[in-house]
């Protein structure tokens, strides 16, 4: 072995311990890349199909209840509904109700979804919630309103929670469909249901005797 090689090896042996001491201690294994909390690990897509028959032709029904912001009338949303982006009735339009985006349409239907930001703010997986409203002709004078909700319910706590969630949505939208029928047939909507009382809120004062 040459003297220069010996010198180099000796220097390396001397340096190695010094450099080892200068290095920080061996790091713990790299943590796994944090999972995106918006991603649903094992989605289960639930569907809620609902329908009601209306005694009016399909085109008339659609004209009465099928505009993108008509939802505020038949779901009796006190805050109303406005189009905040895009062109009303066209794909890409955004309405204030749920910040929902119109993503598809045919002559007598539309489909909408909600953006991901709500789930992001709540720190939960995005449930891909979609609603579809369609009016199908039955005869020259009657039609069927079909409302279909579709979403991933896998992130709910358990089957009982999923069943409650389904039922709540079904109840709310069946009320909306009954209202659509009333409106399309020329009637007047009943008063909206009272909101559930908050805990600690005193009951409304009873009317004075004699009224």
């Amino acid at each position: 072995m040459s003297n220069s090689l010996k010198a180099a090896l000796t220097a390396g042996l001397l340096l190695a311990p010094l450099s080892a001491l200068a290095q920080p201690p061996a790091a713990a294994p790299a943590p796994a890349t944090p999972a995106n909390p918006l991603i649903s690990a094992s989605p289960t897509y639930a569907t809620i199909p609902m329908e009601i028959t209306v005694n009016k032709p399909a085109k008339e029904v659609w004209a009465r209840v099928g505009k993108f912001c008509d939802i505020a009338e038949w779901l009796q949303i006190a805050a109303g509904c406005t189009i905040t982006s895009g062109k009303d009735g066209e794909v890409g339009a955004v309405r204030t109700v749920g910040s929902e985006v119109l993503v598809a349409k045919t002559d007598l239907s539309y489909a909408y979804t909600q953006p991901v930001n709500g789930a992001a703010r709540a720190g939960r997986p995005y449930n891909l919630y979609h609603g579809n409203l369609e009016v199908k002709p039955l005869t020259a004078t009657t039609s069927k309103i079909v409302y279909t909700l579709m979403y991933d319910n896998s992130m709910l706590a358990d089957d009982a929670a999923r069943a409650r969630d389904l039922e709540t949505r079904r109840t709310s939208f069946m009320r909306g469909m009954n209202n659509m029928k009333i409106l399309a047939e020329g009637g007047t909507l009943p008063p909206p249901p009272a909101p559930p009382a908050r805990a600690g809120t005193p009951p409304a004062a009873a009317p004075a005797p004699g009224r």
Partner: protein
Amino acid sequence: MGYHFVATATGLGMLAAAGVALAQPPAAPAAAAPTYVSIPMETTVNKPAAEVWAKVGKFCDLGTWMRIDCTITSGKDGEFGAVRSIAGGRVTEILVGKTPMSYTYTQPVAAGRPYNLYHGTLEARPINATSTRLVYTLVFDNSMLADDAARTRDLAAKRTQFEGALANMKALAETGSVPPAPARAGTPPAAGAPAPK
């Protein structure tokens, strides 16, 4: 809950020196100010709408007119919630809307990129008793692309791809088959074929 990844420069330097792979921060969920664009495309098919839909309207018929593998991996084919897996599983799409001669699909949130709410809708519209308009509409948020030039390129690329698909659907509905795929640039001719001049 926001997405925060806080580290000091010194800490990062030490970790890097030790060779520790730095955890990648999760992608932002969605654009703060989305701009939803749509790409409407259509072609006329010389067949009745119901016949056209029967030929091209099943959820995995995309495999034929896009010349790509497609498998239903979840749910019932053609029904809400059905999931198709495309391109060896690289693309997943869920059926989220349908009428008798249309369907709408979307893609789920994916790791590593902002969610753009991408949706596609295929519809067969009767023109008369013997002809049909096939309409393909894409809608998505393109606000997260780098600049207007990138958005223009992206729109053009998608349009080219799906207009090609519409042409294949037309051929499939009218003739029963999709034309052979165009040869890629630089691909040597098939054995026995005359050499390019």
